[in-house]
Symmetry: C2
Subunit: 377 residues, 2 copies
């Protein structure tokens, strides 16, 4: 049963259905009409501009037949039909979470106790089965990380991984790059040193939102992989030291990379990035490429450094890190706006050879959404 | 003449030089040391973590010889030398602009009166001369748009344009895409309709930050190009209606694209994006891909729509638009986080055939910075 009432002389409509009571404004309803004059049939693109809708638009008449709401808008005298379920799914008349740093409910933060090992897929299965690919991408979207096992030990096999969900983000490092110890390294990544957990390329804007690291050889002593959930770390910081969280989200840090081939990449962005409504959307943390912070006022700089230190301590806390060893033919994919990765120092006679590349999350989420629709979830 | 004083029992240092008086904290100075144990000699990457620096770090001794500042830090008993000019250039002890929506001083907003036509470079010259390339990229960075003329009328010539400054951002539209009227268009871009000024792909996150549109044929009636500076439009909105500016920057809009090939791209981002310190960094405006806004509370939705309408009116104001006709072998490049583009409707017997592609601004700014250093500016 759906009940409706026109409010405020037609400027709004109240819909009562499924135990809910939600209001919609006439202008919102008119703008979100799905008739063929308002939206293109094939791709759903809007055919009109907001200025094509009269400023004094009101609902002149309303009736409901089953799940179909029929509205007539004045002064256009335009009749439009709405699916009540669609309206309820897009209702905006409700209270909102207000805690700074809130996390999208589709995302699940983790630490080592909550996720002792990363989600895993089989290379062959995700390539062959849409359901397996869906499940693996769903894990990757939810946890910000996922492994693939039993893949080919072959040059550029990581490109096949990217093909599963998107497109390579080419950079000055190439379409992909070799990660192995070099004699004259342009980056500490290409040494045998351990690396603190970090997000990649915070000196880039926009940062690459996805990274793939694919193992071709790993016969050294050490050289294990570690991952840390930056969203979990930020949430811990917020809970343990709200003032510190506030400082790292309120002020921009600076990041810089000067490469061997005349590359000067610089970015000015906060370590903890929130949407204007306070939702946590990105973490940037990379001790190697941190530049001089100059956007923090003198009065707050000591507290900012204390907050940065505290955030680093949380990130370095072994309770936060999930550790695993990548063997040849295995890779992991991370959401580089969220999950930090690290490696332990290595030594010995063996070789450690990874290939890495960047990609973007929008196509990954698109692939997941289309698989979900196709598989009828 | 440089004078220094140790403050707060070594927790800070005051530097007086060139008529300025700026303070630096001991922890900031220690973190920004440039000695070979702190930073890698070749690439400047930091070799230490913040946790490697003692929490009780203070300046135990300080002296200045000419432009070289020598500090000794306790408890490490570590001596570090600083270039006073570098310190002054990175000073953070000063008042900051506080007006919401402030714009980086390296960026110059424009309207039609201020910039009757876009900056132009010669295809051959920017390809041949580092100085010409520098000047063209500097214009592009400053105005968010630049044209190239007298280029080849050849398939994929736009790739040569991207090669000048960066890397293609491949998407579901391919490495590049054809813009011409089609029988079954997957986008209104591929019709003969006029298009309101817009930024591309706001349903993508991150959005492509650079777009190239290259003309191969334009013999139709109409089909002119228009560009509008979104930063100028946002600044006008802020000055004329601060409450409207606030609403569009405070709440997230939603954008969506469902393509023909099973693509479902969705983003939740504000139309006017500010850094946490209020600096304007991006505009998203695209009537065709605007989805139902659900992140604005009921109490603010009517005002939000009024703000959106006002922003659209400013964007549609002919005084804001720079109009030009792209001829075969000509292209324009826009900063897609800032400058909107549009086209007028076209008709007639002729053909209009553009090729478009996306790229990113970080590599463009990197190329500009390295050219600036090489050319000794």
């Amino acid at each position: 049963m759906v009940n409706i009432s026109i409010l405020q002389e037609g400027r709004a409509l109240e819909v009562r259905a499924q135990g809910r009571r939600v209001r919609f404004h006439a202008i919102w309803l008119r703008d979100n009409a799905w008739d063929s004059e308002t939206r293109a049939a094939g791709n759903g693109q809007k055919l009109i501009k907001l200025s094509d809708i009269p400023i004094d638009t009101v609902i002149a008449a309303a009736c409901c037949e089953g799940k179909v709401l029929k509205l007539t808008f004045a002064p256009e005298n335009k009749a439009v039909r709405y699916d009540v379920d669609w309206l309820l799914a897009h209702a905006y008349d409700h209270d909102r979470v207000q805690q700074k740093g809130w996390i999208d409910s589709r995302v699940e933060p983790w630490d080592r106790a909550g996720m002792p090992s990363p989600p895993v897929g089989s290379f062959a299965e995700v390539c062959a089965s849409p359901q397996a690919l869906h499940d693996w991408l769903a894990d990757l979207a939810r946890f910000g990380v996922a492994k693939l096992e039993q893949g080919p030990v072959a040059d550029q096999a990581l490109m096949q991984v990217v093909d599963l969900f998107g497109y390579v983000r080419e950079t000055n490092y190439g379409r992909y790059f070799e990660v192995r110890s070099e004699v004259n390294p342009t980056s500490l990544a290409f040494t045998r040193q351990g690396l603190q957990a970090h997000t990649d390329n915070p000196y880039r804007d926009p940062v690459p939102t996805v990274q793939v690291l694919y193992c071709l050889e790993n016969s050294v002593d050490g050289g294990d992989s570690l991952i840390v959930d930056g969203f979990r770390a930020a949430a811990r910081l917020r809970d343990e030291a709200p003032g510190a969280f506030d400082l790292l989200s309120r002020y921009c840090a600076r990041f810089e990379y000067r490469g061997a081939q005349g590359v000067i990449l610089q970015a000015r962005r906060p370590m903890i990035e929130l949407q204007p409504d306070g939702s946590l959307i990105a973490v940037r943390f990379n001790n190697r490429s941190a530049a001089a912070f100059t956007d923090v006022p003198y009065a707050d700089m000591e507290a900012y450094y204390a907050a940065y230190r505290r955030f680093g301590e949380i990130i370095d806390d072994p309770a936060m890190a999930v550790r695993f060893r990548l063997n040849p033919g295995e890779c992991f994919v991370v959401d580089n706006t969220r999950v930090m990765h690290a490696r332990t120092e290595f030594s010995g006679q063996g070789m450690r050879h990874f290939q890495g590349c960047y990609a973007d999350r929008d196509s990954l989420l698109s692939r997941l959404a289309t698989l979900r629709e196709t598989l009828g979830e």
